[in-house]
């Protein structure tokens, strides 16, 4: 299966949240989740992705 390659879309954003539409276009960028949601109000089929300088190196093991 083809991966969803967001690298080109996310490259210019280092923080905050990016809103991507179903045509794979960035339609909004906001500093916080709430601000980004406000910018895309009433827009359907949106994917919110956190923007970051670095996505590598995540590991989890969680015990309650």
């Amino acid at each position: 299966m083809k991966i969803v390659d967001l690298s080109k879309l996310l490259k210019k954003y280092k923080s905050g949240w990016v809103a991507i539409d179903k045509k794979n276009k960035v339609v909004a960028h906001g500093k916080t989740f709430a601000l980004t949601c406000q910018k895309i109000k009433n827009t359907k089929d949106i994917l919110l992705v956190p923007a970051s300088k670095n996505y590598f190196g995540f590991v989890t093991t969680c015990n309650g």
């Binding site: 299966m1 996310l10 956190p50």
Partner: protein
Amino acid sequence: MAKYPYFSPDNKTFKPWIKISLGYRKTHKVSPGVIALVDSGADVCFCKEDIGIWLGINFSRKEQTIFTTANRSTFRAKKETITLYACGKNYECLFYFTNDLPHETPIILGQVGFFDHFKITFDLRNKEIEIL
């Protein structure tokens, strides 16, 4: 469709992210689609507290649970039941909310709450995750 592609946010790493939405019955708020990490190493489901506040959850006076990470450090999280919309289903799911999650991993779908609702097969060789 039961197969979901891996995501690459930086052309170097492959993430088992899926698009989900979160809702909160008490406020009737439902989030836009947002990425969530499918993580078999997490015992439960986690979410950034910021998102919980946006949903309208009142975290004051909520009891905190202590969790331990892989390097033995600890963090605290507050639990609340919310609606998880994922993979064509929606159901009430217990999430633990904390701002100690890394920004790039705002939602984690773990064993209790996600893996106990689906049969999940990771297939990085073919860059796909099967969720039944």
